[in-house]
Symmetry: C2
């Protein structure tokens, strides 16, 4: 397998960037090794559908091996990359080293809590399948616990759901949560009234969807309000405690708090020993390589690259995809002169991103879209979003399944995947507590208890 003479390209991360770099190297005179700590690729644009019980994990994820199977020069390793040795040209993983001639780091990014990582357990973000299932679990559990309290005779206070950050993910979550409460869950309870649930969308800036043109931001705001979402812009989160969020000076009890703000690049970026920006993104050369190492490339959300206008390329799939393909082309062109020849030949061309447009969905039949100068809102934009996302969903089977699910919930308002998993037992409120414990990254037992206590007052 590990041919001595055939150069090896190692790709770290099987997101949109890594996968497209790999497939663009299929059949090239190189051995490609794709390393990811998951065995599946996640179609991140639809994660919010798993979080809101519309889809099952299996429908928006596909095993990496299945995707790359037919490319015989590509192998997949499920392993955790811990670092790099750029001098010896090896990738360090949890249990062995993988040598490379060319390295593509596409480890992606997660969300930032603006220096308040202690908020993480109380306000989970949405980047992985696990995140999505944890959010689903908290949302559905909130209603189940409320129903139990009401059944036991306690007054039925309407629940507060708070989504922090009004970028595409925050808007999707808020809009879809509003729909679920008004439709999917409406008739299901006897002692509480899910329709009364208040969905709050908190944005630090002046507009929702800040990266979109102002007319579309305004339209998105109207569509959100139409769904009953209470939007607050120029609002700053000052503190988060279990079941409680402070916006400015005002304190709000929240059954569920979701975090959709900020960007924190993968810690692997800093392991490359080159400069990173405040979000931890690697400052790459115009050809996406890193200074002094023409054989090492960084792409996708982990790379900080500015367009001619000096504007940072957004952390979206289309950018990652074209960066992956661009880097693969560079390697193909240069590697023919044998390993080590990377960057040796004529100066490289710079990567340029051609923006094909952007879409954000808000809810059922609600979305905004921008294709060059054309701005669309509402139903048409939503249809475009639907069409494009089913089209780009990986796996013919997944497309069929998602299509059915969406057609189904469009007509019935039903949500197919409303399972609370992640806790076999429900020992009273403790489950919500353990739900908190779950997402904590610290090992200290104390902090786990601290969280549990007040949470019971909420929900």
């Amino acid at each position: 397998m590990n041919g001595k003479t055939i150069p090896r390209v190692v790709i770290v991360g099987a997101g949109f960037g890594g996968l497209n770099a790999a497939t663009a190297l299929a059949g090239a005179p190189v051995n490609v090794t794709v390393i990811d700590r998951q065995n599946y690729h996640t179609f991140q644009p639809l994660l919010y559908q798993v979080a809101t019980a519309g889809l099952s994990p299996g429908e928006i994820a596909e095993p990496i091996r299945t995707i790359l199977r037919r490319h015989k020069n590509i192998e997949v390793l499920m392993s955790e990359v811990t670092g790099f040795d750029l001098l010896r040209r090896v990738v360090e993983t949890s249990d062995h080293e993988v040598p490379y001639d060319a390295l593509i780091v596409a480890a992606g990014a997660s969300h930032a809590y603006f220096g308040h990582d202690e908020w993480r357990p109380f306000a989970p973000g949405l980047k992985t399948i696990e995140d999505a299932l944890e959010i689903r679990r908290r949302v559905l559990l909130a209603f189940e616990l409320a129903e139990r309290c009401a059944f036991a005779g306690e007054p039925d206070e309407p629940l507060n759901f708070v989504v922090v950050g009004a970028g595409p993910t925050g808007v999707e979550l808020a809009g879809t949560l509003a729909e679920i409460c008004r439709n999917a869950l409406a008739g299901d309870f006897r002692s509480i009234e899910p329709r009364r649930t208040r969905i709050h969308l908190i944005e630090g800036g002046p507009h929702v969807l800040p990266s979109y043109p102002e007319d579309l931001s305004r339209s998105a705001l109207k569509q959100l309000q139409g769904l009953g979402v209470e939007v607050r812009t120029n609002a700053m989160v000052t503190k988060i405690e279990p079941g409680v969020i402070f916006i400015g000076q005002t304190r709000t009890n929240a059954a569920v708090i979701l975090w959709a703000a900020g960007v924190a690049a993968s810690p692997l970026g800093t392991k490359l020993g080159t400069a990173v920006d405040r979000a931890g993104r690697v400052l790459v050369n115009p050809d996406l390589s890193i200074p002094g190492h023409p054989e090492v490339f960084v792409i996708g959300d982990l790379a900080a690259l500015r367009d001619k206008g000096g504007k940072l390329l957004p952390g979206v799939a289309p950018v990652a995809i074209s960066e992956g393909r661009f880097v693969a082309k560079t390697i193909r062109r240069e590697i023919e002169h044998g390993p080590g020849s990377l960057g040796g030949s004529s100066p490289r061309e710079a990567f340029h991103y051609r923006d094909k447009g952007s879409l954000a969905t808000i809810g059922r039949a609600a979305a905004v879209a921008k294709f060059g100068r054309i701005h669309i809102s509402g139903y048409i934009a939503w249809l475009a979003w639907l069409f494009i996302h089913i089209l780009f969903l990986i796996g013919l089977q997944n497309r069929a399944l998602v299509l059915i699910q969406w057609a189904w919930s469009y007509f019935t308002h039903e949500r197919g995947a409303r399972l609370i998993t992640g806790g076999v037992n429900l020992p009273g409120w403790n489950t919500l507590h353990s739900a908190n414990r779950i997402s904590i990254d610290t090992d200290s037992v104390e902090s786990k208890q601290e969280i549990s206590v007040p949470m019971s007052k909420s929900a």
Copy 2:
């Protein structure tokens, strides 16, 4: 809701028995409260499909509220039942009491380790969605870890998978695992050869599918061997350690050990203060009530009832379903005379089970079926199994989804749900071991962390 005059029927458990009792009481002059610790009903006959990555949890489970939504006299409580007070007629849950006039206990059963509960973590069984995901995780991880070792230069030893118990579940698991190794996974790896995986099916008795007529057992054995399963009957498991199983005196290294033997009724059975059999099943009267309490019924896997022949009714869905409906009919008839009138009127008729036949699938186009005197094997039996299971699957949407998945994997040999969830990190083999810890059931905080972390990530 909790009408004073209207009698309340409390149903514990929303499996096949509980759900059918509930729907049979829909519209009756009673308030029905269904209590389950999960928010969903699991279609257990297809659990092995989730365990073997053929289906997603959402496709074989349906929220209990959704199933019962349109019956206005039925309410659902997601809560953990801890005990009963038969004198005060209340069900005790983790956080409050639920009074009843009539009680139906349908808490089901799990598997027994024959007094060796210490084996549980090393050989998980298959009763819940969580079990299924844990088994899927172990099976897929075994291959990923083997590939990594082979990539790192270690010799590629064929993996051993051992299934203990050759009842319907054990046969389904062994047969399907054999198929996956030969088909779905075959082309996916570069350094190992999944085809070489050895699937062992261990049965203590003389036949596979002991509850089936001998000709069908023989046919099942042939079909299993045709799939490459190594069947050993009259074989006794003497010891299980992490990754090691002892059968008689022989020691076998096993990458995955699955437990499909023995029956242990829900511990709630013993909380009723009446006699139980060795498996913990409640010895019920012929009318499925318990001695001295005509208002308390036990149904499904938790009930021990013998037919005229003195043979114990099997723990299968059809029995639970007809018991649920029978008990509901009894309550409907007697409750009209007001609460407390249960059992007061004329002597009750005894429950009789009319066996409509039984089916067991072995793998793709392989199954056995028995309808009265008619015994079928192979393709026809498999088609019957397919048809019946899609038909009885709850939820029109699920039927469509499962139909697609099955058609798909029938023609492509592909498995749609091959996601390893339940652990974001993969710190070498330790993961397999920590995965083992998951199923440990103890209250110490330390182990709680071990429990909550991976479990939370499952599904």
